[in-house]
Every structure is written in C-alpha cells, then in structure tokens.
Amino acid sequence: MVSKRSVLRAAALGAVSVLAVMVAGVLPASAANKELKIGFVGVTSGPAAAWGTSNVRSMQTLAAWFNEKGGVKIGEDTYDIKIVTFDDQKDPKRAVAGMEKMAQEGIHYVVGPNVDDGAAAVRPVAESKGIIYFPYAFPKELYVKPASNAVLGMVANYQSAPAIYKYLKETKGVKTVAFVAANESDPLSQRDGGVVAAKSLGLQVVADTDTYQNDTRDFTPVLTPIVKLKPDLLVLSGVAPANAPLLIRAARELGYQGLISAETSQDAKVLEEGAGDLANGFISVGGASTPEIRSKAMEEFMARYTKMFGEYNDESNTKVYALEYIVDTLKADPKAISDVEEFKKAIDTFTAPNPYLKGESKLHYVGTTSFGQKRQLSVPMVVTEYRDGKFVTLFVADVD
C-alpha cells in the first residue's frame, strides 16, 4: 500500500530533480557570460509601426545570432546581448519616458527614436544620463556641436536627394518636380530639404505645398491637383511605407506618367501588394542589400529574421547596422561599455570590416561634411528602382 507520506516524498524528490536539471541547464550559459543591455526607443504601434518594428526585429535577430554563437567578446569579458524595448507610439513625451527607463536600467546605448520630434525630445535625457542614441531622424542640430550624443543611423534625405535628382536629371531628363508630404514634422522638413536640393540643381519646382494627413486612405483627392501639373518627377517626401503604395496607385490611376521617388526606405512586398505593377519604376533609397551587393552574412541575417518573425522587412537592410556598429565599437574600445565619452573618442578612429556587403567595404563613422563631426553610421546609399516585386540597384553612393 502506498502511504500519503511516501507519495509526498516521491513528489518532493521529483520536484528537486526537475529543479536541479533546470538549474544545470541554465547556469552554465548565464554564469559564463555577462549581460549587455542595448535599448530601443521608437514607434512599434500605430500607422508608423513598420519603422520601429523593423528596427526592433533587426536588433533582436542580430542579438539572438550573437548569443547563439556564444556571445560577443568585449575586452576580457564575453557578453550575451539583451535588447530592451520601449514603444514611444511616435509621441515625444513617451520617447522621453522611454529614454528615462533606459537610464534607470543602466543602459548606455539606445537605438531610436524614429522621428524628428521624438529624437529632439530625448536629447536632454540622453546627454544628462550618459546615453549614446542612434536616431532615424534628420534634424542637423541633433548631430552638430554642441550636441554629441546622437549618431544618425541612416542616410539623411538632404544627403540622398541631391544625388537622386542629379541622376534623374542627367539620365531621365527630369526638368520639373512636384513634392507631396504628410502634414508632420519629418515629412515636411524632408520636403523642404528636397525643394532646396531640386532648386539648386536648376530643376523647376511646380508644387511644394500639397500635404495630406498621415491616416489618409484614399489619396485621389490629394493628388488630383498635382497630377494636373504633369511634373516629370513626383517626390513623396518622407513617405511612410504604409502610404507609399496608396500614393503611387492613386497617381498612376489618375493618369500620371512621370517618375515617382522617395528618400525613405520601403518594402518591396508592401509595394507589390498595395500597388502591383503600378509601382514599377518607383525609386527609393534602400539600405545595404539588394541582391547585387549583399554578402552571405546578410543573406543569413535575412534568413534568420524571416525564421524568427515569419516575413522579412526590406527596411532592415539599413536597420541591421546600428547594433553591429555599437558592438563593434565597444569591441574596439572596451572601456566604452560604461563610459560614453570613451565611445565618442572611439568614433573618430573606428573602422571594422562590413560583414553585410560583398568586397572590402568597411564600417566607419561619417558625417563630417554634413555635421562637422562624425555622428553618422556609414551605410551604403543604395538607390533602387522597384521592378516586379523586387528592388533593382540603380546606383550606390557613400556619404562623405
């Protein structure tokens, strides 16, 4: 007969055994490696969720990859990377709260925010709490002295627009340009920068005041007056990936036959589903990795991303870089792991192989021409044309 006492004893022994196995399984990894927290503060909900989500997922994919390989060796220690995320909902107040949270967690390196006003709002917190942050926002005052804690994570439109317009002027005979932008700070400032760039190239700007609400679903009324002007080039300034196919489709359906371009990165699948063949010929700025230039490591990153999240996002061609730069810069100067002033010193001389491109490309910081100091990640400026569900490289350029 089985007594109650023996049942209890067996249960207790079983529980202890299970606990011991769990501890044995977990302890070696966590005991061997320290933890390095890298933050993300940006938008992962609402209409612009695609921007921040591609950031977060790129970071999470890369961190998982690093950790799977045994962590990253910085100085004498090996670290597992932990990504700490905060959705600022594209609200500057929440972005500040997010940056405060990062400071409370002792995090010194934060990717984001994704938009101008959020990036400007977090600056005092970042500077007072010793945080280096990597915004995807273009206001120059974030990167020009006396500012020193922000490092631009991508190519700004005032860097890409002149190159694109020059290319289109010389190769496609573009003479007239029209701009349309969402009525928000980022797109409007990008539009203004684009207008200046177009005029300086001698192009005639036929429309530069047309705007739309970011939540617009039918762009026919917005584009009707612009299409009547028949510009050679229609620039979708700062266009969100969600709106790009709708704008392209509306313009084409209204009979617009000129070129359409944007200086923000887009997603081929979104364009294909939203505009189909009407998106053919659409020009935008991608990140590293059209098939012609991407390395095997980039292909593995894309495969891992797809496995983790079900579907790749082409915006991650650019967004894969931020975490790579942070980790490699810390490797170059291990003291920077807790001292951002060391990181700032390392920026000036840092260089490392670029794992995501074929050939001898290097990771290094740029921005001297635009900001007077190196406060920008060097990512290749790949100008692409959408064609039948894929981006095709038009030309590749470098900033600085």
Partner: protein
C-alpha cells in the same frame, strides 16, 4: 470640377458606411464604441487573409469578415458591455471599457497580422478615363456596393422585425421593454450588427485602399466626426455626415491645396462652429 465632386461622393459613400455601425451602437446602448476603427481593421485583415492569402472568392472573404466581427461584437456586448452597463452607475465606465477594447484589438491585430500595410489584388481592373472624369473601375464597384449596403441597411432597419425592435429600443428603452421587446437579445444583435458593418466595410475597402494595423484609431475619429455632424444615434445623420465630410475633404483638398494642410483646419473649425450652433448635429435626437 466633376472629378472633385465624384471624388467627394466616393469618399462620402465610404465614410457613411463606416459611420453606420458606430451610430447604431450609440443609438441602442448610448455607448461610443472607440473600437469601431479597430473592428474595421480586423475586418480588413480577415478579407486580406481569405481573399489575398487563401485565394477564396472576394464575396466569401466579405462574408467571413462580417461573420467574424459579428461574433466579436456579440461577445463584447454579452460579456463586457452588458455587465458594465448593469453594474456601473456612471456612463463613463462604458467609455473606458470601449477604449480598453480598442487597445486590446489594436494589440491583438498587431500580433496576428504584423505591422506592414497589406493589400489584395484588384477586384476589378481598369480605369474609366473620360475628358471629365478619371475613376478606377474598382472604386466605382466599391462605391456602388457601399451605396447598396447603405440602402440594404436602411431597409432592414425599416421593415424587418429586428430592425423595428432596435428602432423601438433606440427611441425609448423602457417603453420597448414594456411592449415585449427582448431588450438583451436585440441589444446584442444591434452591437453585433454594428461590429459586422465595420468588418464588412473594412473588408470592402481593403481592395481599394489596403489595410494596416495602425489605422483603427484615426478611422474611429473620422467616424465620430461624421456621427457628430449628422447627429449621434441617427442613421440618416450618419449617412449625411459621411457625405458632407467626404465632399468637404475633396473640395478642400482641391481648392486649398496651395495652403498646405488648411483643408482639415477648415473642416474642424467649421465643425466647432457648427456644433456650437447645433450641438445635436443636423438630425438631432435618436430615432423618433
């Protein structure tokens, strides 16, 4: 000008259909359903999945959107709103609950369908291109379906037994109960119908404008605007409000395009002035 007017009518038909479900729920329960836009989005994603991914006919996808949202609406009413309305002494509780359901749906939709804008193949190809009007055939198709949908809804409310019961409930809940109307049953049917309308219009419009997980909130705000113009809880008011907003947007974007985003500034200033003069909207109180 013809183009501008037709653009306005098309937008108006869309907007009116969006606003119908919201005003129905408000009329029956005095609940401002903040989750209306999220229900629209969920309907869009159901159609995207059934028509765009599973390649089933568009009609089946619309049906799936309607049924899914009707079930969601019925569950929300039965297990959330009915309980809160019974137990709470303050009307604000239902507003808080509605906001919570909106947040819940936002999060669930983002988890299930991701952050990307989604679209489906066009249901009708080609563009009507004349000297005075350019209009894609799929938008004409959607516009006609929207108008037919509005007419069918009006007929249902006017001539069917559940429609009459819901109108009675909207006019006077106590009197309707005394006359033998099953209040709980028809309230649930009404909420389910409101949600179903949101889902169907979301599914219908995914063919023209696509869908993404973040547009629920802005859609709700537009729907509230239409309902406030027409008169909260009045079906005819929601339709009129939808067409007025659509026409104002189309004309404003054409006439004021040189002044940046002045269109929406003008619309909302006009709405504030209008509401200060007619706080109950164009058609005043609920049915009757």
């Amino acid at each position: 000008m013809t183009q501008v007017i037709v653009n306005g009518l098309y937008l108006g038909a869309q907007y009116a259909l969006i606003a119908l479900g919201l005003t129905l729920i408000f009329a029956l329960m005095n609940v401002l359903n903040f989750a209306h836009g999220q229900m629209y989005v969920l309907g869009g994603f159901v159609t995207y999945t059934v028509y765009g991914q599973l390649k089933l006919p568009f009609g089946v996808a619309l049906l799936a959107s309607g049924v899914t949202l009707a079930v969601v609406g019925a569950v929300f009413e039965r297990f959330l709103f009915r309980t809160v309305i019974r137990r709470s002494l303050r009307e604000e509780s239902t507003m808080l609950l509605a906001a919570a359901t909106a947040t819940l749906l936002d999060a669930v939709i983002l988890l299930l369908f991701g952050e990307k804008q989604r679209g489906v193949p066009k249901i009708v190809n080609g563009v009507l291109n004349t000297d005075w009007l350019i209009m894609p055939y799929d938008k004409i198709f959607v516009g006609v379906l929207a108008i037919l949908g509005i007419a069918a809804f009006m007929a249902f409310m006017q001539f069917s037994k559940p429609g009459r019961a819901m109108r009675a409930l909207a006019q006077d809940r106590v009197a309707a109960q005394l006359m033998g109307v099953e209040v709980d049953r028809y309230t649930m049917i009404g909420f389910a119908m409101g949600a179903m309308l949101a889902g169907v219009v979301g599914g219908l419009l995914v063919a023209a404008t696509g869908v993404n997980s973040g547009i629920g909130g802005p859609i709700s705000i537009k729907a509230f605007t239409m309902v406030m113009i027409g008169g909260a809880g009045v079906v005819g008011g929601a339709i009129v409000g939808g067409f007025i907003l659509g026409m104002m947007e189309s004309v404003g974007l054409s006439v004021l395009h040189a002044y940046g985003d002045a269109t929406y500034l003008v619309i909302f200033v006009a709405l504030m002035i209008f509401l200060s003069i007619r706080p109950n909207g164009l058609m005043g109180k609920p049915w009757g």
